[in-house]
């Protein structure tokens, strides 16, 4: 059932609006040269940070459709009746969200790095840091989606919850402290299913 759920969510992601966060990511990366000017050295210096900020803000876009539609339509209840623990449901959604978000983001980082005048070595470091950080980011997105599912003004709350919690990923990802970044990403990926599972259960009361 977990495999079917992941396949279903991946399909829904790609037939839905998986391109939207990526378009947003590229748009933010495009805006940076307009904001700071065409100075290539300055752009190269701030490029990795700009890429990360673009990735974090792009990660906010899909949150509202990660959990709430399935909660409202009774899918989460039916999954529970089929014997799937809420934590397993959340883990499946993290995997599916990562699959629909991260690979496209890593590809989009290539043209984005060109816009930011980053050289090949900087791009490679940024790609590795994003590859390590995106599982944690996906886990955080699903946890926030579950906590805010069904709440009024959930859209505003998601940014307030996700962005501060993603700061450690940003700091370690930018500063090339990849082991620390990996530890944070792993911690988020391991902990988020329990937070999301508890939130899904609580939403039924």
């Amino acid at each position: 059932m977990i495999g079917s759920l992941i396949a279903r969510d991946v399909r829904r992601g790609f037939t839905g609006a998986a391109w939207l966060p990526i378009a947003f990511f590229l748009l933010v990366a495009t805006l940076v040269p307009f904001a700071v000017g065409p100075d290539a050295r300055l752009l190269e210096r701030i490029g990795p940070g700009a890429l990360w900020i673009a990735a974090l803000t792009a990660a906010l876009l899909p949150i509202e459709r990660l959990v709430e539609p399935d909660r409202a339509d009774g899918v989460l209840d039916q999954l529970a009746l089929h014997g799937l623990a809420e934590e397993s449901i959340a883990f499946s959604k993290i995997v599916a969200h990562w699959l629909t978000f991260a690979p496209l983001l890593l590809v989009a980082a290539i043209p984005a790095s060109a816009l930011l005048a980053m050289d090949a070595a900087s791009l490679m470091r940024a790609e590795i840091a994003l590859a390590i950080g995106t599982p944690g980011l996906a886990a955080l997105a699903v946890a926030v989606a579950a906590v805010t599912a069904g709440l009024p003004r959930a859209g505003s709350l998601t940014g307030l919850l996700l962005l501060p919690l993603a700061v450690p990923l940003l700091i370690f990802g930018i500063s090339d402290a990849l082991l620390l970044e990996a530890a944070v990403s792993l911690l988020l990926t391991a902990g988020a299913p329990f937070v999301a599972g508890a939130a899904i259960r609580a939403s039924r009361t």
């Binding site: 339509d73 009774g74 209840d77």
Partner: protein, 185 residues
């Protein structure tokens, strides 16, 4: 297990409102229980409690493997009905259930194009194909035409004759032989 559902001294409160207190009931194979009562009396909450989706304030609920059809369709709206149902119930049982419920000809139609009556039938097809002994049905005849209501009634009769049990929350009378539990009195 001789009983497919058992409530022992169950109390449920929602939103600070007491829905029922110290409720005892049991359901054996072949039996049908209609939960009746006005809107807001706790019929759907009783079904969700029986399904394990809500927790009782006090008391104990024991249940056999079950399937629930409530107001939420739980089917992907963009995919054809047959494929949407197959997510929940792979295998041959699905074809038989779609046929029995009169939806086989719509298996290739995306779910979002179904009428409310057809959607209700689809959620009941999911239950019928589940293989569960205990069916929990919320307003099973709502939005159904005469043909649909007759098919659902026939499926329920057949399920009970084969040793299954059904709890149906409904504010209207159901055809056949049902024990009645009146809530909200």
């Amino acid at each position: 297990m001789t009983e497919l559902l058992r409530f022992e001294d169950v109390t449920l409160r929602r939103g600070g409102r007491l829905l029922f207190e110290d409720l005892n009931l049991s359901l054996r194979p072949g039996e049908g229980l209609q939960v009746a009562g006005p809107n807001g009396s706790g019929k759907s909450s009783l079904l969700r409690l029986a399904a394990g989706l809500l927790r009782a304030e006090r008391g104990r609920v024991a249940r056999a493997p079950l399937a629930l059809a409530d107001e939420q369709l739980a089917l992907d709206s963009e995919v054809p009905l047959g494929r949407a149902l197959a997510f929940w119930t792979p295998g041959d049982r699905l074809d038989g259930a779609l046929d029995a419920i009169g939806l086989k000809h719509l298996a290739g139609v995306p779910v979002r194009f179904l009428s409310s009556g057809q959607a209700k039938r689809a959620s009941l097809a999911r239950v019928a194909a589940s293989g569960a002994q205990l069916w929990l049905l919320d307003e099973p005849l709502n939005a159904l035409d005469t043909d649909g209501a007759g098919r659902i009634a026939g499926l329920i009769d057949q399920h009970r004759a084969l040793g299954g049990a059904v709890v149906a929350a409904s504010h209207q009378s159901l055809p056949g032989d049902w024990r009645i539990l009146e809530l909200g009195r």
